[in-house]
Every structure is written in C-alpha cells, then in structure tokens.
C-alpha cells in the first residue's frame, strides 16, 4: 500500500481520493438517518443555507443537501449496473469472437460495429420516450446497457487476437489445456486489468447518458438523480432567480465526479502500463 502510494502517478491519487469521497457520500452518508428530502411543501420554501438545511431548500420546499446525496447514490448505482452488464457481455462477446473466429466472428463483429457507429443518444431517446411515465430505474439501466457492451467487446476481441499468438498461450495449449481452461487461467487475468478501467469508463458514460436523458425529461420523473436535479432546477427557473445554492451543487458535483473518475481511469492505465514496464 505504501509502495503503491509512492509510485502511483498524481492523477491516480487525486482520482482515487475524489472517487472514494463520492462513494462515501453515496453509500455511507446516504444511510445516515434523515428526513426524506423529496416530498414538496413540508419545509419552508427558498431557504438560504443553514445548519438545519446545509444547502437550503428549493422553491418546492425540498432539502437540497439530502436531495444531492440521494442523487449521487442513484446516479452511481445506475452507472454501476450499466457498467457491470456492459463489461460482462462485452468481455464474453469479445472473447468468443476472438477465439472461435470464422463466420461467427464476422457476424458478431458486424453487429458490434453497428452498435459502435449508431449514434446512441437518439436511439436511447426513442426507447425512453416510448416508456415515458412507466420507466423504472432498472428498466432505464437495461436500456442504457444496450449501448455499453459494443466498445469493450471490440477491444477485448483485438486483445484476444494478439493473445492467441503469444508464446505462453501456445505453451498452455501444447501442454494439453482445453480452450475454456486457457481462456479462464491465461487470458482472463489480462482481460481483468483492462476490464476494470473499462468498467469505470462505462460508469462515467452511463451517468452522462442518464443525465442527458434527464435534461430531455426522459428519466423517470420520481428518480432523484444528478441529471434530474439539474433539470428540475432549470424547470423552476433557478438560474433566472439567481438561486445558486440550488443549481450549483448538482452541477459542481457532476463536474467533480466526472473529472475524478476520468483521472482515476487514465491514472490507472498509466500505472498499469508502468508496472508492466512499458
């Protein structure tokens, strides 16, 4: 641990600190008992920040601080679900395609390429607008996952293709290991390091897509997410009224979270390639 801290690039350290900070907000602070911040009209409206309401209240009488904590919790949860589905499916498709080869490889790659090329946002818009009103968090996560698997499967496939020709894989094969065993014991460890960085990237993309849909009013209306919080503030003219304690917390939280995650990803990639001695 100490050695890691000495060797890790500054980016990785900063990213790690920011990400852990948000994880604590979303999954530890979130569980501290507090009044449900969402219901309207049970608090005074338009309160400035105080010791009772750290960031004040909205024009609907909602507690902004706890709303933000809940938004961070929900956005991260959606991001993790989507990233998990996308990474698992992507790694599987990529490995199959790379190792089996032939016609199956060509068909899988054609479908994958289509999903890489199709502009995802319009299709997501169409799918969510069809389930307007009836969508739930899980359904939204599934829809977002439709576009999360294609890129990783492409990357994993090219990784599998180069792997296939490496000496230690040949050794494994010549010593009588089956295809599945080779994939699990020899290839997966390599794929895992890469998958971790892809997982974080997919989390970031999923949160961005969800907030994009929220701005269009297509995220579930009762879901407290970072995107929806910004959208509500815009809807109730928080900018025009100069209610900075309302509009700025979700914007700043999103920016810091994204920059933190991005530094974590690039820093982690740098650190891994440094460790491999390249």
């Amino acid at each position: 641990m100490k050695k890691f801290w000495k060797n890790a690039p500054l980016r990785l350290k900063l990213g790690l600190i920011i990400t852990i900070f948000f994880l604590i907000l979303g999954f530890v602070v979130y569980f501290i008992p507090h009044a449900d911040p969402f219901p309207n009209n049970i608090r005074f409206k338009n309160l400035p920040p105080s010791s009772e309401h750290f960031f004040g209240t909205t024009s609907q009488g909602q507690d902004i601080f706890w709303l933000l904590i809940e938004a961070i919790h929900n956005s991260l949860t959606i991001g993790f679900i989507v990233a998990l589905i996308g990474t698992v499916v992507g790694v599987m498709v990529g490995l199959i395609s790379g190792f089996v080869g032939g016609a199956l490889d060509r068909i899988l790659m054609l479908i994958t390429d289509t999903f890489v090329v199709i502009p995802s946002l319009p299709v997501l818009i169409m799918m969510t607008s069809l389930m307007k009103g009836s969508s739930t968090v899980l359904l939204l996560a599934l829809v977002l996952a439709v576009f999360a698997w294609a890129w990783p499967s492409r990357q994993i496939r090219s990784m599998a293709l180069t792997m296939k020709e490496r000496d230690f894989i040949h050794t494994a094969w010549f010593s009588g290991e089956g295809t599945i065993q080779t994939v699990v014991t020899e290839i997966l460890p390599f794929a895992l390091t890469w998958s971790l960085s892809n997982f974080m990237n997919a989390t970031l993309n999923a949160i961005a897509s969800e907030s994009g849909l929220a701005v269009l009013g297509l995220s579930p209306g009762n879901l407290v997410s970072l995107g929806n919080m910004i959208q509500w503030a815009r809807n109730y003219n928080a900018i025009m009224m100069g209610r900075w304690n309302w509009i700025l917390p979700p914007i700043l939280a999103t920016i810091i979270l994204f920059v933190g995650l991005f530094m974590l990803i690039t820093g982690y990639n740098d650190y891994m390639s440094m460790k491999r001695g390249r």
């Binding site: 289509t114 799918m127 607008s129 069809l130 701005v215 297509l218 509009i247 920016i255 994204f258 920059v259």
Partner: protein, 332 residues
Amino acid sequence: MKFWKYLSLRLVTWALTILIGVTFVFFIPRMFPSDPVEAMIGQMQARSGQMDPAAKEALRTSLRVQFGLEGSLISQYLTFLWKGLLHFDFGPSLMSYPTPCTEIIARNLPYTVGLSMITTIFAWLIGNFIGLLAGFRKNKTSSKILEAIAIFIYPIPYFILALVLQIIFAYILGWFPLQATIQYNNGTMAFVTSLLRSSVLPALSILLLGTGWWIISMKSLSSTTSEEDFVLYARYRGLSEGRIGYQYVFRNSILTQITALAMSLGGVFNGSIMTEIIFGYPGVGTLIQGAILQSDYNMILGCITISIVAIATCTLIADLIYPFIDPRIRYS
C-alpha cells in the same frame, strides 16, 4: 485491384451497418406495448369529447396508414425500408401536420451539420497541434499545464459545460443571448449576425470538449512516438527539433488520429443534440426534443434514420480516405 476489393468490402459493411441499425430502430417501438394511434385518439377525445364510433374507426384507419402501421409486420418493414430508407419519406409530421417530416428535417439539418462539422474540424486541428507540442516536449511546464487543463475539461458532459457557459456568458455577463434567436433566413445581414451571435456559445462548448479530447489522445500518441528508436536516430543525426517534430513524430502519430476522427463522429452528434437543446438552437436536437414532447413518432424515426445514415457515411468516407494518406496500408 486490391483497392477495389477493399472498397467493395467496405461498401458492403457500410450498407449492412445501416441496415442493422435501421432494423433495430424499426422493431423496438413495435415491441413496446404502447400504441401511438390509441394514445393520439385518447388525447383527441380528452380535448374535444367522445367521438362517433364510425368516425373514430375511420380516424383510426387513416392514422394507422400515416404511421405506417397498416398490414403485417413484414410488409410494414418492407414499406419502411423502401419509403424511409431509400426515399427518406417518413410520412407527415404530427407536430406540424401535414408538412412532411423530411421537409422539416431538411430545414433543421444544416444547423446541426454546420455547428458540429465546423467545431469538430477546428477542435481536431487545434487539439492535435497542442497535443503534439505537449507530447513532443513533455517535460516542459507549459505542456503539463495544457494537459492538466484538457484533463479537467474533457470528462465534463456536453450539456453541463453548455449550462456553465450559458450561466457565465449569457446570464451573468450578458454577452450572448440566453436562448438562440435566429431571424428568418432571408439572406440579409440581420440573419447572419443573429446566426453568428446565437452560435458562439453552442460552438464554444462543443469546441472545448473536442479540443480537450484531441489534446489528451495526441499527447499520449506523440509522446510514445518520440521515444521510438527512429526519433532517437534522427536526433543523433543532428536534425533540427522542428524537423523531427514534423517529419518523424507528427506524420507517424496523425494517422491514428484520422481513424479516431471517423470513430468520434457519433459522439459529436450526441453532444451536438444536447448542446442544441440547452441553447434552443434550431437543429435536429431541438427538433427531436419537440417531437418527443408531442409524441411525433414519424419525426423521431425520421431524425434517427437520417442520423444513422449520415454518421455511417461519414465513417465510410474517412475509412476510404485513409489508404491514400497512409502508404503502408495493405487494404486488409
């Protein structure tokens, strides 16, 4: 001869990509339980009271025809491929009935294409230039600062950056309009000025994010290239730094960036949609937003089909240009 094989293979992939994408887009709405025709009739009845059953039936049939929902799924699909994909005819728009969707899309598309094309080209040029300098001279403080700025800007989602620019430059400073107000296109100076004034902030937000990405990727590419043996050899030969930078590092790193440009177009289009919506810029993004609000499915389907065709075609063009730039390519 090899080139023709490469070209025909690439064309087949292009056609299949579009076909798969469009098929996906066609079948999804039909898998959902919601029926746009029943929803519309319900809305009409809510507005103007119950209808005569016979009139309702006639309305239902005519609406089903206009939505392309008449006949079996296969015949609907073939009609859609024939009319929609080959003739770009998506039926009448329901928001502004009976104007055809295509006419409205054609009116909005130039704004989106203009905005995203110009900003992407500039972002690519500026980003790669700065990225090259930062990667080639990576131990300079200025390089580190430039990269740090890029890392801070790039991960921010498009609409958040757009919102921040809107708050700072339009609301607090008041230099630009909060919402795009573009005058009717009659070719006068008033139109051009209003277009430029309204385009500055949307263009700036797409430009900043794009530049950030090109700086980051070019920096890492050129810093690996400048550690290659042939660059070291060029140094020992005593070539000037400028010549090494241009002939050895730049020319080897830029190739990857050309492919990357083709791959990035889908993302730029997504970003352009979000940015347009924040600023009310009259492009395809704002059109899609309006179509969603009014459940105009013909329009949504039309916008998506056209954007899939456009982006697949841009990717194809970039792929076809590539062999002309890189002499080493083997058309594989």
